[in-house]
C-alpha cells in the first residue's frame, strides 16, 4: 500500500471519528432546544393570549401564511371586554380555539363560557370564520346567535359569555 493512501486513510479516519462526535453533539443540541419543539412553541406562543400592554414582536409574528391572506384581511384578534381585556393574538392562518379548557388557544376565565366554546379559523380564501362548538350559552356575532360557521366582518364583535373579541387589521 502506498504511503500516500495510508496517510489519507489515517487523516480520513480521524476526520470521520470527529464527525461522529460532532453529529452526536448536534443531536444533544437539538434535544436541548428542539427544532421541532421551537416551531410548535412559537406557533403556540403566537396563539396564546398576550398580556395587556405587550406588543408582539412584529417581524416574527407576521411572516408565515402571508400568501393566503388577502389585502384587507385582519391581522390580529383583540379582546375588548371581559377578564382578558387588552389581550391580542396575531392571526397567522392557524385555528384559534376559545374556551375554558386548558388547551384552548385563548383560555377564557369566564363562568358563562363552556370548556370548548368556539373556534375561529380561516377558510381556503383566507376569510376568517367563527364557529360555535356546541356551547351551553352560545356564541353571538353582533347581535345574532350563531348556528352555523359564519364569516366575520372586520370590527364585528363576537360575544362569548362576558367576553367580547374583535378581529382587527
Amino acid at each position: 500500500m502506498s504511503e500516500l493512501t495510508l496517510t489519507v486513510m489515517r487523516l480520513g479516519f480521524l476526520a470521520v471519528l470527529w464527525l461522529f462526535v460532532i453529529m452526536a453533539v448536534q443531536v444533544i443540541r437539538s434535544d436541548l432546544f428542539g427544532t421541532r419543539v421551537t416551531q410548535r412553541g412559537s406557533r403556540r406562543e403566537a396563539g396564546r393570549p398576550q398580556p395587556a400592554g405587550r406588543q408582539a414582536p412584529p417581524q416574527q409574528r407576521q411572516q408565515p401564511a402571508q400568501g393566503r391572506q388577502r389585502r384587507n384581511a385582519p391581522t390580529k384578534l383583540v379582546v375588548t371586554e371581559g377578564t382578558l381585556t387588552g389581550t391580542t393574538v396575531a392571526l397567522q392562518g392557524q385555528t384559534i380555539t376559545l374556551g375554558r379548557a386548558h388547551d384552548s388557544t385563548i383560555v377564557l376565565d369566564d363562568d358563562y363560557a363552556s370548556s370548548r366554546h368556539a373556534r375561529i379559523y380561516p377558510d381556503r380564501d383566507g376569510q376568517w370564520i367563527v364557529e360555535d362548538l356546541g356551547s351551553t350559552n352560545g356564541t353571538y356575532l353582533d347581535r345574532s346567535r350563531l348556528t352555523t360557521p359564519t364569516p366575520i366582518a372586520p370590527g364585528a364583535p363576537i360575544r362569548i359569555g362576558k367576553t367580547v373579541i374583535e378581529l382587527r387589521k
Binding site: M1, M9, R10, F13, L14, V27, V37, P49
Partner: protein, 478 residues
C-alpha cells in the same frame, strides 16, 4: 421567549404538552454511522498490515451491524422514547475495540509471546465478538424484562448482600483465581469471570434505594463546623462500612481499581442525594487515608505506586513493571495525529496489550486527536447518563442513573489515568474497548438500564383527564 415565560406565569396551564419526539430515526442514522466507522478502521488496519482488504471484513461488519440492528429494533419496540445517543456511542466504542483487538491479534510479536507463555496462540477478536453478542443479548433482556426500573427498588437490601457476595467471591478458595497479583477473577467451568464488573450495577441499586430513604437524615441532621456540615456520628455508619469493605477488597484482592470504584461511586451518590459538599471532602480524606495506609504495607500496591512515581526507573531496577513506561512511550510516539491504524508498535507492551493497555494502542495509532475523540465519546455517554438522571421523575431513578454514569466515569478516569501515568495503574479495563468478557457484558447491561430509565423519563406524560371545569359552566337565564 420572554413573552412565553411571561404568559405562562399568568396562565400556567395554557401550554399543552409539547409532544416529545421519540428520536428513534436519529438513533438509526447515528447507528449506521457507528457501524461504518469500525468497518473503515478494519479495512484501514488490513491495508496497512497486509496491503489487502482483510478477509473477515464482511464478517465483522455484518456481525457488528447485526448486533447494532437487533439492539435498535428492541429499543424501538420496548423503549421508544429512550435516549437516542447511548446505543450508537456504545456500538461505536465496542466496534473500535473489536478492530484494535483484531489488529493486536495480527502482531507476530504477541503471537510468539503467547506461544511462549501458554504454548498456543488463540486470537482474542472472535472471542470478543462472542462476548459482545452475549452483552447485546443481556441488553435486550434488560429492555424486555425490566419494564420499570422502580421494581429494582424492592430489592434494595437483597442487592446489597448480592453485591457483597459478588465482590468477595474471588476470595473463596477454589473458586477465586489469582491472576498476576490481583484476585478479582473467579473461574467457573473454564470461563474466568470478573464479578466486580457486575457488582458495580448491583451495588448501584442498593446505594440508590438506601440513599433515597436516608437522604434527609444525612442532609439535614448535621452540625456546621468551619463552613462544612459535619454529619452526626451515627449517620457516618454507612460511609464507614463502605469504606471498610472497599479497603478489604484492596487488601485481600489487591485491586485498587475496584476498591476506588465502589468507594467513589458511594461518595458521588451521597453528594447527589444530600447536596452537601462536606461528603466529598470527607470521602476524599477517607480514601486518601485508606490508600496511603494500605500502600504502606501491601507490597502489590506499593509496587504500583513506585511504577507510577518513576515509570522509567523500573528499567534499571527490576522487570515486570515497565508496562507503564512502555505505555507512556506509545502515547508519545503517537504524537498529535498518530501513526495510523496498524502502523504503531504498541504490541511491544506485550502482556495485557489488548486489555488493560488497549488505550495505549489508540494513543499511538490515532494520536492525541483520536484519543480526545475517544474520551469525548465516553464523556457523551456519561453526559447522557447524567441528563437521564436530571430528567427522571422519581428519586430512585435519579440516583440510580447518576450512580451508573458515575461508576462509568470513574472507570474511564481510573483506566485512562492509569495508562497515561496520571494516577497509579489499577487492574481495571476500559469499558467496551478492552478485551474481556465480563466488562463488555456488564457494560451493555448498564447501557440497557440507562436506556430503560431514560425511556421512562422522556416518555410524554399521559394526557390529563377531561377538564373538570366542563360541568361548572353557568347557564344564562333569560
Amino acid at each position: 421567549m420572554s413573552s412565553t415565560t411571561n404568559t405562562s406565569t399568568q396562565h400556567t396551564s395554557t401550554i399543552g404538552s409539547i409532544g416529545t419526539p421519540s428520536r428513534r430515526n436519529t438513533e438509526l442514522g447515528l447507528l449506521v454511522f457507528a457501524v461504518l466507522i469500525p468497518v473503515f478502521a478494519y479495512a484501514n488496519v488490513g491495508l496497512a498490515i497486509d496491503g489487502t482488504l482483510p478477509a473477515g471484513l464482511l464478517g465483522y461488519g455484518l456481525g457488528v451491524g447485526l448486533l447494532a440492528g437487533v439492539g435498535h429494533l428492541v429499543v424501538r419496540k420496548f423503549a421508544p422514547y429512550a435516549d437516542p445517543l447511548l446505543l450508537p456511542l456504545a456500538t461505536l466504542l465496542n466496534g473500535l475495540g473489536l478492530v484494535v483487538i483484531w489488529r493486536l491479534d495480527q502482531s507476530d510479536r504477541l503471537q510468539n509471546l503467547a506461544e511462549l507463555q501458554y504454548g498456543a496462540f488463540s486470537p482474542s477478536a472472535p472471542k470478543q465478538l462472542l462476548y459482545s453478542a452475549i452483552g447485546v443479548a443481556l441488553f435486550v433482556a434488560v429492555l424486555v424484562f425490566l419494564k420499570d426500573h422502580r421494581i429494582l427498588q424492592r430489592y434494595t437490601y437483597i442487592s446489597m448482600v448480592a453485591a457483597l457476595v459478588l465482590l468477595l467471591l474471588p476470595l473463596v478458595p477454589g473458586l477465586g483465581a489469582d491472576v498476576f497479583g490481583a484476585k478479582i477473577w473467579i473461574s467457573v467451568a473454564g470461563f474466568s469471570i470478573q464479578p466486580g464488573e457486575f457488582a458495580k450495577i448491583v451495588i448501584a441499586v442498593f446505594f440508590s434505594g438506601y440513599l433515597m430513604v436516608k437522604r434527609d437524615a444525612l442532609a439535614l441532621a448535621s452540625r456546621r463546623f468551619m463552613g462544612l456540615y459535619l454529619p452526626r456520628g451515627r449517620d457516618l455508619g454507612p460511609i464507614i462500612t463502605i469504606w471498610a469493605v472497599s479497603l478489604l477488597v484492596l487488601i485481600f484482592e489487591n485491586d485498587l481499581g475496584t476498591s476506588l470504584l465502589f468507594f467513589g461511586m458511594f461518595v458521588i451518590m451521597l453528594y447527589v442525594a444530600t447536596e452537601r459538599t462536606s461528603w466529598i471532602v470527607i470521602g476524599l480524606l477517607m480514601s486518601a487515608a485508606g490508600a496511603v495506609g494500605v500502600a504502606s504495607f501491601a507490597s502489590h500496591v506499593q509496587a504500583r505506586v513506585d511504577a507510577w512515581l518513576d515509570p522509567f526507573g523500573c528499567y534499571q531496577t527490576s522487570g515486570a513493571c515497565e508496562q507503564i513506561g512502555q505505555s507512556i512511550m506509545s502515547f508519545g510516539s503517537g504524537g498529535v495525529l498518530g501513526t495510523g491504524l496498524g502502523q504503531g508498535h504498541s504490541d511491544l507492551i506485550g502482556f495485557a496489550a489488548n486489555s488493560d493497555f488497549i488505550f495505549s494502542t489508540f494513543g499511538e495509532e490515532l494520536g492525541l486527536a483520536g484519543v480526545m475523540a475517544m474520551l469525548l465519546l465516553y464523556a457523551l455517554i456519561i453526559e447522557r447518563g447524567v441528563r437521564t438522571s436530571l430528567a427522571a421523575r422519581d428519586p430512585f431513578g435519579k440516583l440510580f442513573a447518576v450512580g451508573l454514569s458515575g461508576a462509568f466515569a470513574l472507570q474511564v478516569f481510573v483506566v485512562a489515568g492509569g495508562v497515561m501515568g496520571l494516577i497509579p495503574l489499577t487492574g481495571m479495563t476500559m469499558p467496551f474497548l478492552a478485551s474481556g468478557g465480563s466488562a463488555v457484558i456488564a457494560n451493555w447491561a448498564l447501557i440497557g438500564i440507562l436506556l430503560r430509565i431514560s425511556d421512562t423519563a422522556r416518555r410524554p406524560a399521559p394526557t390529563p383527564p377531561t377538564n373538570p371545569d366542563a360541568e361548572m359552566t353557568q347557564v344564562v337565564r333569560p
